[in-house]
């Protein structure tokens, strides 16, 4: 019964769907998977501890928090609002699309970023929120959540679907390496051409999605004419 090894995936699924405490769910999933696969309890704790300690790099973003914390105290969000209000006609959707374009270009030039902590929290989300506030005034908390999610999502879209347009990116090297080792000689440059198609298509989808979001927000809150115009 090899299938029993999949029990951990089931636990994760159920746990995430029913929103049980995520940390406990993950540990229980790991524990159960280990037990049904013949790993002893002490072996499990050693394995878990080793895997967690060896992956501390994943949590290095904690080091960025002090800087973000004081930047926020001394007006990061307020200044984002001031800047966005100066740029008339810059809606939330257009701003996020612009960010996605810049992010895709960064990918094209091979610039690797962990941009969720570096850009999305300190800059993209505050500006996207500010663009909505400048256009509609106060928006509902649910819509603030949606803008947060969109800021993070567009970073992921632009990062994922443009990163293989750079010939020396990890993805391109893995594709050519894997195919070559399986007996198909493949050039990195020809991979880039195919990747460009996907990058282009994904950008069109992103732009349409963000455009539709602007329309939806306009309908919901009514367009407030830009600053200096007649408000209400």
């Amino acid at each position: 019964m090899e299938w029993i090894k999949l029990i951990g995936i089931l636990i994760i699924l159920v746990g995430f769907i029913f929103k049980f405490d995520t940390i406990a769910v993950v540990i229980i999933a790991a524990f159960t998977t280990a037990l049904v696969s013949g790993i002893s309890i002490t072996e499990f704790f050693t394995l878990l501890g080793e895997a967690f300690v060896k992956n501390r790099i994943v949590t290095i973003f904690l080091l960025t928090l002090p800087m973000i914390g004081i930047s926020e105290r001394f007006g990061l969000r307020q200044q984002a609002v001031i800047l966005i209000e100066k740029m008339k006609g810059l809606t939330t959707g257009r701003f996020i699309t612009l960010y996605a374009l810049i992010r895709q270009l960064a990918g094209l030039f091979g610039i690797r970023l962990s941009a969720q902590p570096q850009f999305v929290r300190p800059i993209v989300n505050p500006m996207a929120q500010a663009a909505a506030n400048a256009r509609y005034g106060k928006i509902s908390e649910a819509d603030e959540e949606i803008i947060k999610a969109k800021s993070a999502a567009n970073e992921n879209f632009a990062n994922f679907f443009a990163q293989n347009t750079f010939a020396a990116s990890a993805g391109v090297l893995l594709i050519s390496g894997t195919l070559t080792s399986l007996g198909y000689e493949v050039q990195a440059t020809s991979i880039v051409l195919v990747a460009l198609i996907i990058a282009g298509i994904s950008f069109v989808l992103i732009a349409i999605d963000n455009f539709l979001f602007d329309l939806k927000m306009d309908r919901k809150y009514g367009k407030k004419s830009s600053k200096g115009g007649q408000k209400s």
Partner: protein, 306 residues
């Protein structure tokens, strides 16, 4: 070089450990927190794992981590009283500093990217860049050391327990690999597909990449397994162009990354960083686009590769 890199990284881990222990001490002193002891213990244990993880047996770290899981399971970890920031303070700061307030964040990215091109690499880059950006921010805002610590504690507590989820899921991936979960899945998928049908082969390759990526949380790990198990026999051996099929398969896998909680770096991390209410909020925002893109991948591979 690798040794130097590891030494520098170890220094940063110890630094993170100390910051976490600071939050532990502050929480312990905070009488208003209804789960004072549990919360303090959670941050203390995490701090120990970060600072001393390489110097104590892995068995101990595993046990400590499990205790942390028990604390969150029984709701013994709560955000306590942290330093507040007021709207007035922000307004005054914006008045005084203006757009220079973005400079530390830009410096963080610039220094990190710059160092990623040196032999030190991107991981050390983020660490060094964080310290540089903090110094720039302190210089710019004239924040006192106490304010820096106050705000660090506030940010750590705001990110909260979810912050360790990406790392924990990475550890889960290791346990899955050791247990052989991946082999079970790839055997199962390749057993289902009839040979000789190009379209079904393409669908299996793309969907297989997406599904396997969802389970492993990582398209790179999926690519080797699924390309060898499905891509080669069912698409490329049927006459599909290897460059087109392989390249599209990789990004088809990324469609899976967009909808899995296992890819915590991309989906759970922003939830923590942006202090979102819904733990699946980012995934929900990504799911429609991911679905459309997966269908486009299948169509492109079918029409371009043959």
């Amino acid at each position: 070089m690798t040794e130097t890199i590891n030494l520098i990284l170890e220094f940063f881990y110890i630094l993170i450990g100390l910051l976490l222990m600071m939050t532990a001490v502050r929480t312990f002193k905070d009488q208003t927190n209804p789960a004072r002891i549990g919360t303090s213990l959670f941050w203390l244990l995490l701090g120990i794992i970060f600072a001393a993880g390489n110097y104590i047996p892995f068995l101990i770290s595993g046990v400590l981590l499990t205790i942390m899981g028990a604390l969150t399971l029984f709701k013994q970890v709560k955000v306590g009283k942290t330093a507040r920031i007021t709207e007035e303070e922000g307004q005054a700061g914006a008045q005084r500093i203006g757009s220079w307030i973005f400079f530390p964040a830009v410096a963080l990215a610039a220094v990190a990217v710059g160092i990623s091109y040196t032999p030190l690499g991107g991981q050390v880059g983020i660490g060094i860049a964080s310290v540089v950006a903090l110094l720039v921010a302190v210089f710019l805002t004239k924040a006192s050391p106490k304010t820096v610590l106050d705000d660090t504690d506030r940010m750590i507590q705001a990110v909260g327990t979810v912050g360790i989820l990406p790392q924990l899921l990475a550890a889960l991936g290791v346990v899955f690999t050791v247990a052989g979960v991946g082999d079970v899945i790839s055997n199962a998928i390749s057993g289902f597909i009839p040979e000789g049908n190009r379209f079904i082969g393409v669908v299996a390759y793309c969907v297989g990449m997406a599904l396997f990526t969802m389970i492993m949380g990582n398209a790179f790990a999926a690519f080797t397994v699924i390309t060898a198990g499905i891509g080669i026999p069912f698409v490329i051996a049927q006459g599909g162009d290897p460059v087109i099929a392989g390249t599209l398969a990789m990004t088809a896998g990324f469609c899976g990354t967009l909808v899995t909680p296992m890819a915590a770096n991309f989906n759970a991390l922003p939830v923590a960083l942006l202090e979102m209410k819904d733990p699946n909020g980012v995934i929900k925002a990504q799911a429609p686009t991911a679905g459309i893109l997966l269908v486009i991948h299948i169509a492109l591979m079918y029409f371009l590769a043959f």
